[in-house]
């Protein structure tokens, strides 16, 4: 798509807003989304860090800002909602003149952390359960406000050093019932011929499932994508992968339901995820079958005892 490299502003550039006259100093580039480039900045004269997103297109960026504003005002009315947007997310909206052109931008809270796939690679797979849970909480919060995230992929999920999860890049957020604005092949339900591209809660849950599969078995997912022709690509390939991979086993029942769109909503999915990740500790394999080798060794030791007793008393 049109994410060809665009010239980024160097560190130290001062961005002066046209409408509010606030000045922000660029520190470095944080990343690039579908709608624009995100910079790490501080307000001139202050130390606090913010993220500043410069849009490629006024209309697209404004559309994203509208979503953020509406999320913020709605979440204010719904108190005590887990995974909602407690601190003000959107701080300022303005334009500035750069390289002879009006460039729209907005300033938001800076979220420190690493994309989820880097986090899991570094910290280990046992973190999948809890980070997955927190991500699902975020998605459920968004769904309750009447939106879906849409473009869910590892790059858009930030995890702090202590496993706190935040969604970044709201460019793909779409109203429930509308068409999905932005998506990425692998995580797109339509790409897998597994359903429509309309915004419903199950769309995010499907993307979440693919994301989890990627975190636990990226090679398998890559192979599945490479082999298949678009006409034959379908979610049974994902289901096979879930069944085959031992690392996906603990999550298999949940993933199957999400891939097939069987959860009535994200709240049920969240509850099921919780149950699943906390189940092994309680009802794991403990009362299950005694391993074969133990039975054999026990039988052997009984025979030895019998032999020893025989030799001692009867010989």
């Amino acid at each position: 798509m049109t994410t060809s490299s665009r010239p980024a502003y160097p560190a130290g550039t001062v961005i002066t807003g046209k409408w509010h006259n606030n000045r922000f100093v660029i520190r470095r580039v944080l990343g690039q989304g579908g709608n624009g480039i995100v910079y790490l900045v501080h307000k001139a004269g202050y130390r606090n860090l913010y993220a500043l997103k410069m849009g490629y297109d006024t209309l697209d960026l404004q559309s994203e800002i509208n979503v953020l504003t509406s999320l913020q005002s709605q979440s204010r009315h719904q108190d005590g909602l887990k995974g909602s947007f407690k601190t003000p997310f959107l701080l300022e909206v303005d334009d500035f003149t750069g390289m002879g052109k009006e460039v729209p931008f907005y300033v938001m809270r800076y979220i420190e952390g690493n994309p989820i796939h880097h986090f899991i690679r570094r910290r280990g797979e046992e973190w999948v359960g809890i980070t997955g849970l927190r991500l699902l909480e975020k998605l459920t919060g968004l769904h309750r406000l009447g939106f879906i995230f849409g473009d869910l992929k590892p790059d858009n999920v930030m995890v702090s050093d202590y496993g706190q999860v935040e969604l970044i890049d709201y460019g793909g957020v779409s109203k429930i019932g509308r068409s999905v604005k932005q998506f990425t092949e692998w995580y797109d339900r339509g790409y897998w011929n597994a359903g429509s591209r309309s915004s419903d809660e199950a769309y995010d849950l499907f993307a979440f499932a693919v994301l989890m599969i990627q975190l636990l078995n990226e090679e398998g997912l890559k192979a599945a994508c490479a082999q298949l022709l678009p006409q034959t690509r379908n979610c049974s390939e994902l289901l096979n992968l879930i069944g085959r991979s031992p690392r996906l086993k603990p999550y298999a029942p949940w993933l199957r339901k999400a891939v097939q769109g069987e959860f009535p909503g994200s709240r049920e999915a969240l509850a099921a995820w919780k149950q699943q990740i906390y189940a092994p500790a309680i009802s794991g394999r403990a009362p299950g079958k005694t391993p074969r080798w133990l039975i054999n060794t026990f039988a052997f030791s009984v025979i030895m005892l019998g032999a020893a007793v025989y030799f001692v008393f009867f010989k």
Partner: protein, 245 residues
């Protein structure tokens, strides 16, 4: 809203200029987008110039992509064009209200309201996209990818709230008098269509211009004639056959 999406890999070489044909389309209120498909080698300088010019004359956008990105590019171009067309209309309205005010000059608060309207219309405006496929000999290895991209586009269009329809044409036709052939009439679902391009005979000639004019006629017929063109299988093609420019 009406669009033509031309998918080609090079230069036209027969008949009327495609750039002029695209200008006619724009005049009729039909935006023309062009996807230039490359895979083996490159589109020559002349080819890529023609692609840009067709889109410019047709008020649309053009992109040159490999077959792998084709599906996403087509989806993006179609959506972008809908947004642009609506934005142009809204900007026109704004000028009459505010004297001199494009979207960029509005303060953020008002801009937000305008964009809300644009977003709403983007999602709900009825949309017709006529896909015009260059099926000259050099396109043959790419047709499977083109068909997948078309199916993918249909999926995106189906998700819209507004009524969305696709029709598919290819060119050249079976003989020199046939500039374009209809593969499917306006439809909202490709699920029942097994094989889009079963009647294709690859030929060397590339009459891009005449083919665009044909598709304009198809749009015109649909809007002129009171009775709709939907549901009458076969009739549409016959119409196309003897409707000579």
């Amino acid at each position: 809203m009406k669009q033509i999406l031309l998918i080609t890999d090079g230069c036209s070489n027969v008949g009327a200029s495609p750039v002029m044909a695209a200008a006619h389309a724009l005049q009729e209120g039909i935006t023309v987008n062009v996807a230039g498909v490359i895979d083996y080698g490159t589109i020559g300088e002349l080819g890529s110039l023609e692609i840009t010019e067709i889109a410019k004359a047709g008020g649309g956008v053009s992109h040159i992509v490999g077959t792998r990105q084709l599906a996403q590019t087509m989806q993006m171009m179609t959506r972008k064009t809908v947004v642009q067309t609506i934005q142009q209309a809204v900007n026109k309205e704004l000028k009459t209200i505010l004297g001199d005010g494009s979207l960029e000059e509005l303060p953020p608060q008002q801009r937000s309201q305008v964009v809300q309207v644009v977003d709403e219309l983007t999602e709900t405006t009825p949309l017709q996209v006529a896909l015009l496929i260059d099926a000259s000999a050099s396109m043959k290895p790419k047709l499977a990818a083109v068909e997948d991209a078309i199916r993918d586009l249909m999926l995106s269009l189906q998700a819209r709230e507004g009524r969305s329809e696709l029709a598919v044409f290819h060119f050249p036709g079976r003989n020199s008098t046939e500039d374009a052939v209809m593969d499917t009439d306006w439809i909202q679902d490709l699920g029942g269509v097994r094989n889009l391009f079963q009647r294709i005979q690859m030929k060397g000639a590339t009459p891009t211009g005449p083919a665009i004019l044909k598709v304009i006629d198809f749009f015109r017929y649909g809007t002129l004639d009171g009775q709709t063109w939907r549901g009458n299988d076969g009739e549409g093609e016959g119409m196309l056959g003897d409707y000579v420019v």
